[in-house]
Point group: C2
Chain length 335, copies 2
């Protein structure tokens, strides 16, 4: 932590937030944190930037939820590599605003700490500065993965089947509900969708499972919607993907809310973003092992919804017709 | 790199910026980067956040210089730990502004790349998003250091001497000149100060030297001015520090510019910030070895300017009188 007048008070707040049982050799309060990697491990590094009014709206959730969600976004990248989370650093650009006082940041860090503890990652440091702009939260996450064995986007092969964990589109359904207002929406379905949107759970255990049992050829997390992520897999693996629209897993909650809001739940799954499920390919020979063990050992549903073939691009079969699937995700266009 | 519509184009830009000879197991374009730590190494992790109009002004320097300086700030934290830089990730919040086009970012990353290559660090990833706020650059840097041997803020002992590398206050002198305008200022001195302010050089080699020869008991980098950093050392090491004002190293350039601008160069050194020199303590028994080898092997001047004693706090002796040194740095107060 550097360059901030309130550095000392903040480090004290963070030291309390870091909690006990840190897995770090040296945590907060020095120029850098120190992590001691296990023998035979690679270190996985990722960061995820959340900007107020672009990625989140303080009206829609609590600071605790925001903290949990911000960390989930980074941990989800580690999950997609099959890495075990170890530590995270947090950078904050903080607007001068009466509502952004100590209580807000305590709750923000408490949310991060809860998610960090659930997935094995300790707060290791960060940087914070007063800013004339919006609240910006940038989380840098570090994990460990068995040397040379990390899951990658580039390993999919023709003949592989395409899987995803959990359901897709719930998070987008939750966002649509927040924008619409809860009035007149079915309460049970609303609760499911809001939980998925406000406190997503990174699929770290599923990623570890796939890596340890050598079940996936390629893997990515679904942060920007199925269409965008399947295009990433296809591009990086230099293969083509065919998706069966009917096999895209939509929850009962998403279907129910979509009917009420006159929206298409498949559209939420394809380009809604922030589901943080894993999208992976596996050889057909692994299907029986996946069907037998995956849900039992990870507690997550598993859905086979397509296959990998030679070629380029992504297609989707809907009402019996195969058509190209546009590469559109949750976008923030700049130039 | 996630969540950005121009992700693909940006990854391509970054892949070119990353250059050849990356030290990474897996670099850009996947969910996370992979670093393979050497045997017997700890991993040092730090980040540094720079916000437009708080930490930098695009009027005062080129995007190339900004890139070099942003990376220098993070590498300086690694230098203070005695760590060898390995990789960095870059998060950008990018305002929609005509001047912030591809050419700007190419130059920004070229500056980072130049500094990265000079100190052994490869671009490993990052995140970028369009923002309604100012340009924010957050750099996470990762280094390696011999297991259990990282230099810390907490190791200073009574009887130690206090040293710093290079000169202090040049960067603040440069900033004062930028604000004043170059008219009427001595050109040679101006060039020195501007270079120190716009393209600071992290003291990575000096940090490695101190660690490898076991010469320092405690170390910190001077990013916020000598007064603030000496207070950090005193607090974390639970000791007191006495500084000799006359021994604080001020360059001829800073003295000359201070006369012209009617400023106190010692004030620049004490609370100016961004010098990125190292401040460290060493036992008196190491003095002769430091005097013999330090400058010869690192190419940097070394200055002894105080000592460590039992107690708390920091004092400065000026005109024969010892008085408490206020803990004031380069501050951005929030709450």
């Amino acid at each position: 932590l550097k360059r901030s007048g309130y550095e000392r008070a903040f480090v004290e707040l963070l030291r309390r937030s870091a909690g006990r049982g840190s897995r770090l050799e040296l945590g907060l309060g020095d120029d850098a944190a120190l992590l001691r990697p296990g023998p035979g491990k690679d270190v996985a590094l990722t960061c995820d930037l959340l900007i107020e009014s672009v990625h989140f709206d303080l009206k829609f959730g609590s600071p605790w939820q925001l903290g949990a969600k911000a960390l989930a976004a980074s941990l989800s990248d580690l999950a997609a590599m099959g890495a075990q989370p170890k530590a995270y650093l947090v950078s904050l650009s903080i607007p001068r605003r009466p509502s952004l006082k100590t209580a807000f940041f305590k709750a923000l860090y408490a949310g991060m700490r809860a998610w960090g503890e659930a997935f094995g990652a300790s707060l290791a440091g960060g940087d914070s500065t007063a800013s004339p702009g919006p609240l910006v939260i940038d989380i840098f996450a570090i994990g460990e993965v068995e040397k040379g064995r990390a899951l990658r986007r580039s390993g999919a092969r023709p003949g592989d089947l395409l899987f995803c964990t959990g359901n897709l589109g719930d998070s987008a359904a939750g966002l649509a509900c927040l924008k619409h207002g809860s009035h007149g929406l079915p309460r049970g379905a609303l609760a499911v969708a809001l939980k998925r949107h406000l406190t997503p759970v990174p699929r770290c255990q599923a990623g570890r499972f796939l890596l340890q049992r050598n079940l996936a050829n390629a893997c990515i997390d679904i942060s920007d919607g199925l269409s965008s992520e399947s295009h990433h897999l296809a591009r990086e693996s230099k293969i083509a993907i065919d998706i069966e629209a009917e096999a895209v897993p939509l929850s009962a909650a998403a279907r129910k809310l979509a009917r009420k809001l006159k929206r298409d739940p498949l559209e939420w799954a394809l380009s809604g973003g922030e589901d943080y499920e894993l999208l992976f390919t596996a050889p057909a020979s692994k299907l029986s092992q996946l069907e037998r063990d995956f849900s039992r050992l990870t507690g997550l549903d598993l859905h086979c919804m397509g296959r990998v073939r030679p070629g380029r691009g992504v297609r989707i079969r809907q009402n019996g017709r195969l058509k190209p699937l546009a590469d559109k995700g949750y976008e923030h266009r700049i130039f």
